[in-house]
Symmetry: D2
């Protein structure tokens, strides 16, 4: 296991889906940042299920607790421990299929890696619930980034094959929070919601694509050749369960372009260096260019569906069939939006500290 992310701004994750709690320790947070539990609670609430038809009805009353590192309303420079206790959990159903891995889940690989000792209830460490910790940490990271005028916008650009393209950043800022799927186009959002409802009725699930845009990132973040801006972000995104692909700027589409089409010409804009297009997605040579940082993350459809699955019993290798796992999100993409945003913020904080662009003390 390796549950820490970041070199100077380090997020350590702990907790299980059906254990006592889910939490995170943030080490390296600059001192002096004004911080309250309400700040973090607001982010956590964005991730909450049960608020939209797209989500599972599990009612988690996730109340954030700040357990260390904050004093008199400010961060102290000491490690910040944040936790939410698990409350609405029902572990009874997991025992009987303990040795029959659900397809698409980590049941089998964690069984092998941890010799059958892993907590299998509700996915244990591999549950999406772990991302509550990412979101709590991300709330602090976003506040830090705001002190140097970095803003992150995140929205859903595809669900179940239905694509939405935002026309500009204002549109994302204005619209993405306004619908249950966090889509910048309200009309497309409606269609996506219908597709999700249909999948639910069929006992199936949908995947999608999330785009995150960081505005105000100064040129110079990223530490080539190995700790590149794209590389660090990509690594971090893959910590989100169900992520299967990551691309920046034109991404996979760049593979089909010509150099003359893909190169972004440099220009001067308001006295600063800019490019007239942004197919690079704000990164050149692994270093931020000052243009908007643009990443897209592919999310596979939730493996937990209401249709029977073929599997085997690990004890005797005999074929086994699995019934439905209970009620689950037919599409986790909407809930993953805030997680992607949190992960982006955590990574940018770390790279900004490394590059000397975030002060050690916020004043």
């Amino acid at each position: 296991m390796s549950n820490s992310l970041g070199k100077l701004f380090t997020t350590t994750s702990f907790g299980e889906s059906h254990g006592e709690l889910v939490g995170v320790v943030i080490d390296g947070c600059p001192a002096g940042l004004a911080l309250s539990e309400a700040d973090i609670q607001a982010e956590l609430d964005r991730r909450k299920p049960g608020t939209s038809p797209a989500s599972s009805p599990r009612q988690e009353r996730d109340e954030i607790r700040v357990l260390s590192g904050v004093f008199n309303g400010h961060t102290t420079g000491a490690p910040i421990c944040l936790a939410v206790w698990n409350r609405d959990k029902d572990s009874s159903q997991y025992e009987k299929n303990r040795f029959v891995p659900w397809p698409g889940h980590a049941d089998y690989t964690s069984y092998v890696k941890y010799g059958g000792f892993a907590d299998y209830r509700g996915g244990g460490r591999f549950s999406g619930r772990i991302t509550a910790g990412f979101v709590m940490a991300g709330a602090i990271a976003r506040k830090l980034l705001a002190t140097i005028n970095i803003e992150i916008l995140t929205h859903t650009v595809e669900i179940g094959g239905i694509k939405a393209i935002a026309r500009n950043y204002d549109e994302i800022r204005r619209n993405a929070a306004g619908n249950a799927v966090h889509c910048a186009n309200p009309q497309t959002a409606e269609v996506m919601l219908q597709a999700i409802e249909k999948a639910r009725q069929e006992g199936d699930s949908l995947g999608g694509i999330i785009e995150t845009v960081a505005l105000g990132v100064p040129a110079g973040l990223g530490e080539p050749v190995f700790d590149t801006l794209e590389g660090e972000l990509a690594k971090a995104y893959f910590a989100i369960p169900a992520v299967k692909g990551v691309e920046f700027g034109a991404g996979f589409a760049a593979a089909g372009l010509k150099g003359s089409e893909n190169n972004d010409p440099f220009t001067a804009r308001e006295g600063r260096v800019a490019t007239t297009s942004n197919r690079a997605g704000g990164v050149l040579g692994g270093i931020s260019s000052g243009m908007p940082l643009v990443a897209r993350i592919a999310i596979k459809p939730t493996p937990s569906i209401a249709q029977p699955q073929r599997s085997i019993n690990l004890l005797d290798m005999s074929p086994a069939s699995l019934e439905t796992l209970g009620r689950h999100d037919p599409c986790i993409v909407p809930r993953a939006v805030v997680v992607v945003e949190a992960i982006t913020a955590l990574t940018l904080c770390d790279l900004a500290l490394i590059a000397g662009r975030l002060p050690r003390i916020i004043t």
Copy 2:
């Protein structure tokens, strides 16, 4: 700068395109691996330009030198320093456009990050030439992986929009080395070569997609939640210049599938756990499943083209035009194939050591 990759099997890169040499230090290599300069030279020759119409005519006589860590024909457990001296270099052309960044290159971002002190000749640290070091290190990693029966196959699946799909692993193994673009389908290879030649004539360049498949990876590699198999690989791939996207298994296409389509059912095959499909690409929950590991990497078209580029002069922010940079690869995808393979091997070695699947002494 952060030029080291890996936690227990650590590759540190150094050198510049037009400096004295390009090299690498490998720390943590198990002792006892039989190793000669010829072993590494063979890999390095696979990366050599000038052997195909797809490549630039620059003639690098890359002779590998093993400078430490090998004694009596075996690795000793000490750090292994490998280097190739730069010979065929002509730096004269770079001086005049020192302050006019080429679009798509790292000229501007490195100028900002290193305050104008970076070696700008031939891209300096940001040149594809740096990957010669990755390939040398990868040659050792591949030999190590072979001791535990891991084989890596890498091939070109798209160039300039022309797609090739391998029907099976034997086809890749048999065909990919047999043509200049490393495509598993000889007919498609021909079409790709024609497209490259056309781009060259137009003074343009093409991108593409590379697929790498690791066979024999035991279940259990990868350290969730942050140091996942996908995450570590993705981070490492982004160290290769021009990579803009990474996906595993069904990747971005998974976003358009339903859960019932995307889940890979478990089965028993020759007494071992397997899945009847492999849309997961050999990874579940960030841990290898024992199925073939499949990654695809998107490569943008080379920014270095023979067409004039619009840019600005960084000293006075005035518009500036750039003429051609000289002769360059119209498509670096074929040369990147061996680099992708090397990076895959380096990452798997590190994760195998961490998971306790590679011995500290090879006997």
Copy 3:
């Protein structure tokens, strides 16, 4: 701040003296270790103050809570979060001298480093109370080491200038737990206790030296040239407040010996390589030799004494006098014994995992 120790077996510390709790997250613990709260509680109780005349009368009811990473009585391979809540705390006295640093404490340096935002109550992050986390983590480490037959013996060899030398390891094992100062010689223990009592009456404090011996350490632990066995241990010991020196084997005394006196001749003992003396303290070239590992740690006298101290007011740089801080341990050496042992165990676990000498799964 950097609150994580270890590369594969990583201990992350959090919490403050007068905050909500003190805790630790252990990442990388092998799965399958039988573990109960009682196991850890027993170690924590060894550190408890108020049980001897050498300690402060503060009554901490340190009840260990295992918050994650343990399931069905065994470690799962997931991060283990352990915590004790702070109960018997009285923070009222710290406010008035907030800007007058106590000599010998971290008040001033933390004020500078964290811009006045650090939690100053009871030393905050710099309190000895933080070591409760080390001890909890160390309890797990010791259980792990026991599975490969490594035993750690720790005892006080000097307090207030009064020296005690153990004649053999049995004596330490038998006697050190039997007296309040953890001295292997019961007679010397009495004299030490009298010295401590005298210091208390004088409102003063005493320092001392602790020796730790690890038996059964296999040859081969330690990763030169930088991550040596001595180096990793030394670094870790300096995380214990008040440590001012660390030595191994003959240590500083070796500086006065001749090579002919200091070299330990090799011999065969019961078919294994041994040395007839152990001035090296079980380490050669930064790697364990298989002989007992012997380290000694110098502890300065507690800065918290009942005598007035000269200082300055940081706000206006004016001279200031500090009265007594309340009741404190006149000698923390006895309580530090269990902490030294914990730190030794944590470091050995990490190095054993790195060297491939601890399995990833305990069966």
Copy 4:
């Protein structure tokens, strides 16, 4: 093996005593530092043997080569590779005793750790020659520290039991370079030299103690609780062969003081916070206090002596006797002085970067 030191300013060591070369890669060096080979050569020459009666007559013509990372006379921000080629080496004598470990050396432990594959010629990776790399890297670190007015003074305070105490820093600055043993007291230096000459005639060796003092270190370096200033320095010092103990300020002597004696009262001096004494050695709570940083390092007598040694043959465990190893330094303390200084500088650079006290670009 783990041959890298430092988190942001990282020194990676490679090479062997009788291999091709000894070198180092420095990653994270700020761009813009004026640097020539002559700067580094000067430091390397301070380490050169054969210039004093205290040293071995081996004539190494150590000519530094800067292989990367420097361009137009300045550091570029890219990794800096430095190397010296091995020339005056005679490996013939090492073969015959390959399986008979010399007492006090790493022969046996490296044999175990690397399964007999380690390069045994002249100590291989465990030779003091490796420290030539530390010194080259340290030369750069010292230049960096000079840009923020940090000066390091290092001198010999004990050899063969003969002690010298410097009265003040000027004395060290003025005298330590003026004699072959780097002692700040010229009279004591004479006595030390006589003792070394006597040891040489007896075919024996002497150890000693080195003190290093860093002036101008700003308050705030060091990252508690684990990456303390003392801890990071101590870890780094133990990478120097023959180091057996490290202490700061009053060090082991503090164990015998009372709190009332050991506490350093705070005062204001020229408008800045200071202490009237410095028993803390410039560190409080693991963080620099702004007072001079004072460390002392114990060096054991060289194991290589001209007297026969008792050992065993590792192949059959039979007793074996070893004759003299050839001509060696009877006392390596004088040569270690510059190495201690280099290691101090490397560690301070890293901690200064982490604390945000060294700029990323030197202008």
